[in-house]
């Protein structure tokens, strides 16, 4: 295959200038350590990879979304600077010394915690994905957006550190007989409220302050956020100020008017929190052009709100034939999982698809299978197999094939 290096060679038979003429950085002195402000930034050559809004998706920028540029990311950890955002009433950079968490409701002791209190408690650190329930919403209908950033960019994965919610609830003397649900409430203008299943609450929910080794970023809920592994992002309440233990669901605005699934019979399914097994090829993906024929490493992400990823299959002929991809470790529960597979592009049109299978045996569905059960008016929980068409010119585009 004619690689890029060979193309660059055309000029001089002696060799490339990039090698023969030593660059400034080989013959000069570089920059000092610990440059102000002692906190590093990405290369200036990387500015194309940014979180971006999808024009026309929302009407105001504080009740909106910015998408993670999955098309250019590697591995499973999402750089915190590129973590997707979803705010309902804008984000804040809250003074953490004035932040409080209250636990009330069906507990023996209604309690108030400072950040100091919380950060003294036994903590856990776990890698989990967070996906907005509306991720890939555009793909319920016809193809409408040009790249994986906009189709799938409301998913991220980070290492979260905090105290298990169960630890706090035990400390407050939760009434285990009566407690059926907890309500999580934020401190910002929206004061987001979401109902959490008591089984989740007593299992792996984390009252988290840490994300990827440092404190949560302000856009992600600094200084405190609820981590609800496997459940849609809206339940991961930011600026967490209160946990109430109760015996009924709350039907809050974002579980009674949004984050509900519109079924063909006109009903809406409420409380469908689980983010089911899903995968997507991130490179090559729509809006990208292959450099040339020949070998490519097809790479992508898979995840499941119900457990671990067991297998990912990839098709290059629109779903007719499949091969099992290589999964990069670690394979963690309710975390993004990176897959890779070899592919030699022969220059002919090809349709790339990935299909994930999780530890429950659930196989990621095709969009027509999803629609057969849920109709066409849903917004949330679009976890269908995604198709990318590689054209003869090497340009990849977003298509629907099933």
């Amino acid at each position: 295959s004619v690689g890029a290096a060979s193309r660059a060679m055309a000029a001089g038979a002696e060799g490339e200038d990039a090698i023969l003429k030593l660059p400034e950085h080989s013959t000069g002195l570089g920059q000092p350590v610990a440059m102000d402000p002692g906190y590093g930034q990405p290369s200036k050559w990387e500015t194309n990879l940014r979180r971006r809004q999808s024009p026309g998706l929302t009407r105001v920028d504080q009740a909106s979304v910015s998408f993670t540029p999955l098309q250019g990311l590697f591995g499973i950890i999402t750089p915190s600077g590129l973590h997707f955002e979803r705010h309902h009433q804008g984000w804040w950079d809250i003074d953490p010394s004035k932040h409080r968490l209250m636990v009330n409701g069906l507990v023996k002791r209604q309690r108030v915690f400072t950040m100091d209190d919380l950060m003294r408690l036994p903590s856990v650190s776990r890698i989990h994905f967070i996906e907005c329930g509306a991720n890939t919403a555009t793909e319920w209908g016809n193809v409408a957006v040009p790249t994986v950033q906009y189709t799938h960019g409301m998913v991220s994965c980070s290492e979260f550190t905090g105290v298990l919610l169960s630890t706090l609830l035990e400390m407050c003397g939760i009434d285990k007989k009566k407690a059926k649900y907890v309500l999580a409430e934020g401190a910002d203008g929206s004061s987001m409220t979401r109902t959490i299943d008591i089984e989740r609450a007593m299992d792996d929910c984390i009252v988290a302050w840490g994300m990827n080794g440092e404190m949560l970023r302000p856009e992600n809920g600094y200084p405190l956020r609820l981590v609800v592994p496997g459940i849609q992002g809206v339940s991961w309440v930011k600026y967490l100020r209160r946990i109430e233990v109760g015996d009924q669901k709350w039907a809050t605005k974002d579980e009674a008017v949004h984050y509900i699934d519109h079924m063909p019979d006109g009903t809406h399914r409420q409380y469908t929190g689980i983010q089911e097994c899903k995968s997507v090829i991130t490179t090559p993906s729509a809006g990208q052009t292959l450099l040339d024929k020949g070998y490519y490493n097809v790479t992508g992400l898979a995840w499941s709100g119900r457990g671990t990823i067991k297998r990912v299959d990839v098709s290059v002929d629109g779903g007719r034939n499949w091969r099992t991809a290589r999964i990069e470790g670690p394979v963690l529960p309710k975390a993004l999982t990176r897959f890779n597979i070899d592919w030699v592009w022969d220059g002919k049109p090809a349709i790339l698809q990935a299909r994930a299978i999780d530890s429950t045996g659930y196989v990621q569905p095709k969009i027509n299978q999803l629609r057969a059960v849920r109709g066409t008016r849903s917004v949330y929980h679009q976890n269908a197999i995604q198709s990318w068409l590689v054209g003869e010119n090497g340009e990849v585009s977003n298509v629907q094939v099933y």
Binding site: R109, Y150, I260, Q288
Partner: protein, 224 residues
């Protein structure tokens, strides 16, 4: 670690209202009080009749007298015609508590938690009157709210499907992991429309300058 919450503190923060109206403070507000609040504090964003699509989807519209009787918004059924151009809040919401709670905690958007309970009652009553759930001379209160709940147009429109709530539930959509010669419709069912090619800006500038691919220059038509 931590300390007991004082009663005043719990009162200050424990503001949630459940579908059974647990948490609802005593109070009352008339449609006409609500109209005053609405015009001065809400209409600029949501329109005088809750119909505006400017800053958010419309709140009012698309519900009928019939819906109020049945408790199911007929326009939501697949294939049905709706009088509203899109799904409104009133078409979806089943629980009146949701509206009261949300307005009380989050509205007005740029100045949330500044309405008094009576104002929340009033403005909720006003929205209900726009949807003809209550008459124009109605006064909503903690005493009668449970009755009004019985007139919510979509009160019977919600279902709870437990398998999608529980982590150990089972998916409702089934695929099988066919590996060879699988049944596929060879037709491409949908392409990105031409007008959408550059609707998100130039994709070339949203991809790295090195690597196995380059971003497509979407200022140009798709190459042949």
């Amino acid at each position: 670690m931590g300390r007991d919450a004082t009663p005043a503190e719990v009162k200050a923060w424990d503001i949630d209202v459940r579908p059974d109206f647990k948490g609802l403070p005593a109070g009352a507000g008339s449609v006409s009080l609500g109209e005053t609040v609405w015009e001065s504090r809400c209409a600029s964003c949501h329109g005088s009749f809750g119909e505006s699509n400017e800053v958010f989807t419309p709140i009012i519209g698309g519900t009928t007298k019939k819906d109020i009787e049945t408790g199911r918004v007929a326009a939501l059924v697949e294939g049905a015609k709706s009088t509203a151009p899109q799904k409104t809040t009133m078409m979806k919401v089943a629980t009146l508590s949701t509206l009261w709670d949300y307005i009380n905690r989050a509205m007005p958007w740029n100045n949330p938690k500044t309405l008094k309970p009576d104002e929340v009652y009033g403005v909720t009553a006003y929205l209900l009157s726009l949807a003809e759930v209550v008459p124009p001379d109605f006064t909503l209160s903690d005493k009668n709210i449970a009755e009004v709940q019985q007139r919510m147009p979509n009160r019977n429109g919600m279902v709870f499907h437990e398998p999608l709530w529980k982590v150990n539930g089972k998916g409702d959509v089934k695929n099988v992991a066919c590996m060879k010669d699988c049944a596929v419709d060879p037709k491409v069912h949908s392409f990105l429309p031409d007008f959408a090619r550059d609707a998100h800006g130039n994709i070339q500038q949203q991809n790295r300058v090195i690597g196995p691919v380059r971003g497509a220059d979407t200022t140009q038509p798709a190459p042949k």
